[in-house]
């Protein structure tokens, strides 16, 4: 009987000691904020386009941290989904088409300044303050700040905003990866349609 009592007492004391230790640690080493949210936010492209259904990249990052799907970011595309999957240790999923398709080339907004009526609607829509102008004054886009989120296109009452692909100049040009060498292994497999098209272009 005394053995049982000793065992119970010892276990209780141990439980109390470890409980106190854990309690102290949780207070002493408390982490402010949610670090995973910042990590997710770093991976997201920060276009602030809202195509994911959240009002910006940070809210989507918070939602992902809360269990939201990772395939709702068209500007980031497959690359972002892969990065998120690696970060969170989940399976990458194909991009959810419901939220839009990934752009083939990055674009920036361009205002046809002759047609601009100076309504400031696009200025209000721009999430990164990349449009310059004032009421009844012509507006223009600060190209370096534009994230190509398309949000200014919809509100324009005169449809004078174009999304134009970012041009290649010496600042952003870089060598293309070399084409992999000729197919050395003979095959009787029919080339797929896309390969044929690609070859035609070449």
């Amino acid at each position: 009987m005394s053995t049982i009592i000793i065992a119970v007492v010892v276990l209780s004391v141990l439980a109390l000691v470890f409980g106190a230790l854990l309690g102290f640690a949780s207070v002493r080493f408390k982490v402010e904020g949610n670090p995973i949210v910042d990590q997710i936010n770093d991976v997201l492209p920060q276009t602030q386009c809202g195509q994911c259904g959240y009002p910006g990249c940070k809210p989507y990052a918070e939602a992902i941290a809360g269990g939201e799907k990772i395939n709702k970011c068209p500007p980031g595309g497959e690359g972002t989904i892969q990065s998120l999957a690696d970060l969170l240790g989940v399976e990458p999923e194909p991009l959810d088409a419901e939220h839009g398709a990934e752009k083939a080339v990055p674009t920036v907004a361009y205002i046809r300044e002759d047609e601009c009526i100076g309504c400031t609607k696009c200025i209000q829509a721009c999430p990164v303050d990349a449009i310059l102008g004032a009421a009844k004054q012509m507006h223009t886009v600060i190209v370096d700040e534009c994230t190509g989120c398309d949000l200014c296109v919809e509100p324009c009452p005169v449809d004078c905003i174009d999304m134009i692909p970012v041009g290649v100049d010496r600042n952003n040009w870089y060598w293309q990866a070399p084409k992999t060498g000729a197919a050395l292994i003979a095959t009787d497999r029919q080339p797929s349609a896309s390969t044929l098209v690609a070859e035609e272009h070449v």
Binding site: P45, Q46, K58, D129, T147, N172, Y174, A177, T180, G181
Partner: protein
């Protein structure tokens, strides 16, 4: 005498066929003047220059045509005199094959120089060794000198070593890449200029020594440099160091390692280890800029390859089209020969076979970094487009001069695992091409690395941009929140102000009403006091009147009683006094009544706006009535007491009656207009009463007249001592009685 220099070795490196002899057979020649010179504004590393000439401008040789844009940039000068015929986008000699803004000059073939002089003469110094380093660097910058070894980094920027102390200047004359002999020929022919450039560089950097590294396959160049050293008496400061021939010993970091044994840290610059390295061509350009004032407008370019007849070096004006140079060299396109017609056209390579790039067209200008135009036959330099699988032989790792693992980098690059490639120090790769050269599978390794570097840079730029976008987005959100908060605060403040105003109004209204009340109360108090005064006065009046009556009685008694005859005068004085008192009281009363009236009217005005409302009129009428009553009462009293105020009172009564009539008429007018039956009834009742009163009053007046007449007659009779006095006294008494009866009738009528 040269110092004994302990040479070091770098790992790796290769020994490709040199192929240099073909182009050293003849001296440097000048090609004929081309028809146009195309000068891209971006011939250096850094920001493109800004054109300062317009189309149609005439320019002189050496005139500045574009100014540097920012610190890391270089100006551009007209290579010959002529006219600017265009400033437009032209294809530039760059691996990308992109177009860029270029200034096109049509030479006038006069080749007339702009005014230029040595910096020494410009500053007016006697000893040219006294020129301050800043002035020298400024001159180098103004002359548009950019590294002529191939990279094109602005020399002035490189010479601004800032915090680093430089002990060694290294001039790079290694020229390790096959085929190229531009520096070799330059050293052979212009060694004095190079040594002069070294002197200027030493003056700028205040370095202890200068080493000129030349590969041992250029004995003529070494000899020329030694001769120049002797000529300029610099053999004790400047050493020409012969280094073994090995590719890529001409790489900046590799040459530094060979000559000093120091390794430039990864991602660092040579200044960090106290060394500045310059190409021999750059040194010559510096010497010309400082000593003659000539900007960088030409350079030595090797034109070689098996398709070239006249292989050799050319002193080429910048902007000269490659096609012009090829034509001058007797270039024969092999495609024109029947035997090669079924083959691919040969490539024209700018730079050497290891690090150069194939030109998309020959209509491209020679720029500041163009050290070689290589036009090989396909047999001579076969195009490599069949890359085989990597067999992991490891030869690339042996050949790498930067001690990298090319094979790993290749795998990572191919798999686009950029972060891993970066971790394997991809950015320390100097892209020398040694790995590709040794690769048995002929994999274009360098192209993979270049691609990966570009992709990583792009990723960094994207990340940078994303960070910027995030910051701007957060700033915007913060701003919007702040604005909202401000708006809310304003709204709240406004609401509070409004509430306060409301409250103030409310509290003011009670105070106002209180004040009103107070005023009313004061007026009522006043009225009350007035009425109290009135009552008091009335009492006094009654008291005085009673006293008067008593005094009169006493007087009569005294007059009748001879005993009291001495008291008559006393009584008469008392009577007069009492009468005075009564008069005074009456005046006071009148004043008090007036005050009361005004106060009540004031109160009435403050209470109600409309003075013509029936109620008010009614009140007026009532008060008039009340007054009439009191007036008639007093008249009765006066008549009873036989006072001399009777007449006054009668007049007052008349006035009062007139007022009553007036009030009545006004009231009736209003009440008839309102058609209030009850009011009408009341008015008719009142009217009847009034009529009765009028009747009585008239009778009273008539009676009063009679009384007065009787009184007169009585007095006359008394005065004349007539015997009719008794009869008259009786008649007078009768008349008085009648008057009293009438008044008695009037009083109840008035009261009713």
């Amino acid at each position: 005498m040269t110092h004994l220099i302990q040479l070091h070795e770098f790992d790796g490196g290769i020994h490709p066929p040199e192929n240099k002899l073909q182009s050293t057979g003849r001296g440097i020649k000048k090609p004929p003047m081309p028809n146009e010179l195309v000068l891209p504004i971006h011939q250096h590393i850094g920001a493109p220059a800004d054109p300062v000439v317009a189309v149609g401008d005439t320019v002189l040789k050496g005139q500045t045509i574009a100014q540097p844009h920012g610190y890391v940039s270089a100006p551009l000068h007209a290579p010959t005199s002529g006219t600017v015929i265009a400033i437009e986008d032209r294809v530039v000699p760059h691996a990308s094959g992109l177009t860029e803004l270029s200034i096109v000059i049509k030479p006038d073939r006069q080749d007339s120089w702009i005014e230029h002089q040595s910096l020494c003469a410009e500053l007016g110094l006697d000893d040219c060794d006294d020129i301050p380093a800043d002035a020298l660097i400024a001159r180098i910058r103004d002359c548009g000198i950019a590294g002529m070894g191939g990279a094109g980094f602005p020399t002035a920027v490189k010479l601004n070593t800032g915090k680093y102390t430089i002990d060694t200047l290294i001039l790079n004359g290694a020229e390790c890449e096959p085929y190229i002999t531009a520096d070799d020929m330059l050293m052979r022919e212009r060694a004095v200029g190079i040594i002069r450039g070294a002197q200027i560089l030493l003056q700028i950097l205040k370095a202890e020594r200068c080493l000129i590294g030349v590969e041992d396959n250029k004995p003529e160049a070494i000899a020329a440099l030694e001769a120049a050293l002797l000529e300029l008496h610099e053999e004790h400061h400047i050493d020409v160091v012969t280094i073994p021939t090995k590719y890529p010993s001409g790489g900046e970091k590799q040459l530094i390692q060979i000559l000093t044994g120091k390794e430039v840290p990864s991602g660092g610059i040579p200044a960090q280890v106290g060394i500045v390295c310059q190409n021999v061509g750059t040194a010559l350009a510096i010497a010309e800029a400082v000593d003659e004032g000539k900007p960088l407008i030409s350079r030595i370019t090797t034109v070689t390859g098996d398709t070239i007849v006249d292989k050799g070096n050319w002193d080429v004006l910048l902007g000269t089209p490659v096609s012009h140079l090829l034509k001058a060299s007797g270039y024969q396109a092999p495609g024109k020969r029947k035997i090669f017609s079924n083959k691919k056209p040969t490539r024209i390579i700018m730079g050497g076979p290891m690090m150069g790039f194939a030109l998309p067209t020959t209509e491209l200008p020679v720029v500041k970094t163009t050290n070689c135009i290589l036009a090989p036959t396909n047999k001579e330099l076969p195009a490599n487009d069949i890359a085989m699988a990597c067999i992991r032989c490891g030869m690339c790792a042996d050949a790498c001069p930067a001690d990298l693992l090319p094979q790993q980098l290749y795998w990572f690059s191919k798999a686009e695992e950029l972060d891993k490639a970066e971790q394997h120090n991809l950015f320390d790769c100097i892209e020398c091409g040694a790995c590709s050269y040794v690769c048995p599978s002929e994999i274009p390794l360098v192209q993979y690395y270049r691609h990966s570097k570009g992709a990583i840079r792009e990723e960094r730029a994207t990340y940078q941009k994303a960070e910027q976008a995030r910051e701007r987005f957060e700033a915007r959100i913060a701003r919007q929140e702040r604005e909202q908060a401000e708006k809310d605060a304003k709204r709240k403040a406004r609401a509070e102000a409004a509430a306060k105003a409301q409250e103030a109004k409310k509290s003011a209204a009670p105070t106002n009403s209180a004040a009103d009340k107070a005023s009313i109360s004061t007026s009522t108090v006043q009225a009350a006091t007035n009425s109290a005064d009135l009552e008091k006065l009335q009492k006094q009046l009654t008291g005085a009147q009673a006293a008067l009556v008593k005094t009169k009685e006493k007087l009569e008694a005294a007059q009748n009683d001879p005993d009291q005859a001495d008291k008559v005068a006393l009584f008469e004085g008392a009577l007069a006094k009492t009468q005075d008192k009564i008069k005074k009281i009456a005046i006071d009363m009148a004043a008090a009544k007036k005050a009361a009236k005004t106060s009540t009217t004031e109160a009435g005005v403050s209470d109600k706006g409309d003075p013509n409302s029936p109620e008010r009129l009614k009140k007026k009428w009532d008060t008039a009535h009340a007054r009439l009553e009191t007036a008639s009462k007093r008249l009765t009293e006066a008549q009873e007491q036989g006072l001399d105020t009777v007449e006054l009172l009668t007049q007052g009564l008349e006035k009062q009656k007139a007022r009553v009539e007036e009030a009545k008429a006004a009231y009736e007018a209003v009440s008839s207009s309102t058609k209030n039956s009850s009011v009408a009834e009341v008015s008719t009742d009142d009217l009847n009463k009034e009529n009765a009163n009028d009747e009585l009053n008239r009778k009273i007046r008539a009676q009063q007249d009679r009384v007065a007449k009787a009184n007169e007659r009585l007095e006359m009779a008394k005065a004349e001592g007539l015997d009719t006095v008794d009869a008259l006294t009786k008649a007078h008494t009768k008349q008085l009685e009648k008057l009293a009866g009438l008044e008695a009738q009037l009083t109840p009528a008035g009261e009713a």
